[in-house]
Symmetry: C2
């Protein structure tokens, strides 16, 4: 039985992508070799990475001047690589603190230059997205986290900024259309909407590079990846391949508009149920609710039933619904690839549970 996979990441991938990936791991396109044992310099992988780059450019609608890079080390590596590559010691970068990951990005950046945290919801356990803050004109960049996986908040409108935006889009990358022009750099660990764990996409605008004075090791210099088309050394072949398959799936299913339509429909089912159901309640400001990670807990008087409900979800083939320890309760991650039927099954179970226990 195929499970309902609500995991926060690594997360559900489209069924046809998994089928194709499985075939490629045994015998890639019938050539008699597994993709796992193919040279990254051969014609097969060259075609894969070129298609992946072209698909990202097409799907987002990237203007000229942006480079698509395939790195490793996750968003956590970008937390320091960004200031290392973009910020001199006497310069200041602005950061908005909307969660543990933004907090780590801030901490890592402080070793490379001045960090100005211009807004934060830390004191309120990150239950909302700060708005209306002033962005200093002399900042080198403004760092944002577009979706906060742990808390279930999402930036539904990017602020107008006098400086380039740098954004961690790990958990909502390619889930909705957006205007790329204000962004100097976008990064995303693949393991949410894009692919399996093992690769990180960085999209960087040419003019962001080459302004720092410090020494950069070759593998930490974005320009190495630009110059060598992400092939300076052996890249993570299979994770990039599976990401390319997912990109094909996104395009085939309506691109970013199609993804947004799917994701809005799924989120509506679940948020409606949370708001309607007397046993459950959401955990964050309504206007900042994420379409990717839907966090909810039980109303105080039913709190003792949390374990029981979680058990029932598991008995019904639903996995990954336990909330993060810093929020508690439940978290349903509803990434691009999650079918509407999975969300409906969860909402139905919540209704049924309320009928029996309410």
């Amino acid at each position: 039985m195929k499970k309902h996979n609500f995991s926060a990441g690594p997360a559900i991938l489209p069924a046809p992508v998994l089928k194709e990936a499985s075939k490629a791991a045994l015998n890639y396109q019938g050539i008699g070799l597994s993709l796992l044992e193919l040279s990254h310099r051969g014609p097969e992988f060259t075609a894969i990475i070129e298609e992946a780059n072209a698909l990202i450019k097409e799907i987002i609608g990237l203007p000229e001047g942006y480079h698509v890079l395939w790195l490793t080390g996750g968003a956590s590596t970008q937390f320091f690589m960004i200031p290392m590559n973009l910020l001199n010691e006497d310069e200041t970068a602005a950061y908005v603190n909307t969660g543990v990951w933004a907090d780590k990005a801030i901490k890592e950046a402080k070793a490379f230059g001045h960090v100005n945290v211009i807004a934060s919801s830390k004191e309120q356990n990150f239950t909302f997205i700060p708005k209306g803050y002033k962005i200093p004109k002399d900042a080198k960049y403004l760092h944002l986290t577009s979706n906060n996986t742990i808390y279930g908040t999402q930036l539904h409108r990017f602020p107008k900024s006098p400086v380039p935006l740098v954004c961690d889009m790990s958990s909502d990358f390619l889930s909705r259309p957006f205007d790329p022009n204000p962004f100097g750099l976008i990064y995303a660990g693949a393991q949410k909407n894009l692919g399996p764990a093992g690769t990180t996409v960085v999209i960087v605008r040419e003019d962001m590079l080459g302004t720092v004075r410090r020494h950069l090791p070759s593998m930490l210099d974005y320009r190495t990846f630009v110059k060598e088309n992400s092939l300076y050394n052996t890249p993570p072949v299979f994770p990039i391949y599976v990401s390319m398959l997912t990109l094909r799936w996104i395009r085939k299913n309506g691109g970013l508009k199609g993804m947004q339509r799917r994701n809005k429909a799924k989120a509506a089912i679940l948020y409606n149920e949370i708001d309607r159901n007397p046993l459950f309640k959401g955990t964050v400001a309504r206007e900042d609710r994420s379409l990717m990670n839907i966090c909810f807990v039980m109303e105080d008087k039913y709190a003792a039933l949390e374990k029981e409900f979680l058990k029932e979800t598991e008995a019904n083939g639903m996995v990954g619904l336990k909330g993060h320890r810093s929020v508690g309760g439940f978290r349903a991650s509803t990434y691009n690839a999650l079918p509407k039927a999975s969300v409906q099954a969860l909402a139905d179970l919540m209704q049924d549970f309320a009928r029996r226990k309410g």
Copy 2:
């Protein structure tokens, strides 16, 4: 038809490993989810990484005090991470230059401390392994490359050293027994003997860590990986899984002694043919010939036949035999997983070719 895969890396993996990997990509152990969409914090992957660590320790026979870490970024990332973590600016590390990769390691290290290149075969296009050099007692470590993929040379005996050895074992990791005690740090990109591209194993002795004064970003500090058992952030789940399967295969097939026996037998077939066949000749000092990458060219008077022979290998289902551009001719990579039958097929073709063209 299954090909004879002589690729230098990413390289051939054992057939049962590929079969198991393919299954896991679709439905991991029948649980109804692909390994590509499973949380790295769940019981499935926890068991995988723990087994992988235990297998490396068992197969090598690592004494207490060594940590097995799973990183990303390849050996090229280790080229700077090693001096960054081990070498202060006023300290000196000794390096032996035996190829392009050692050369890059030297270049990257120079940004972090003093580098003393105590021996080199660069002027002779790396056709031999320097020996009999003096290792300075005050060096922080001695960096070696145990096998040089491009040139086909291998260190058959590690030098007795008054300082800890640091070794790039990317292309002969787990291909033969060795005494781990002189090593302070061993590293290897997985994509030769261990697994697919996408993960790098670092084995580090506890006493090597914590002696540098510079700031280390969390993701560049080996201690982060030690402390969090390589799970500080999302690791490359699938590459680690396939590596674990390969480790199981190594143990099942006689461990490092079994691998060495296989590799010696394969190399003997091919080197004997190279030495016997009037059309071909080896390219490196006999005593330094690699058991992993066997480089050979055509004798000068037959040089015009190189392209023809390469075509014949391809027509016979052999892939990856074109030599690296800096050596020319042919390179047969004969990693652990390559069956003896593949090497025999190549030797037979060389004999047949000589009969027809000699």
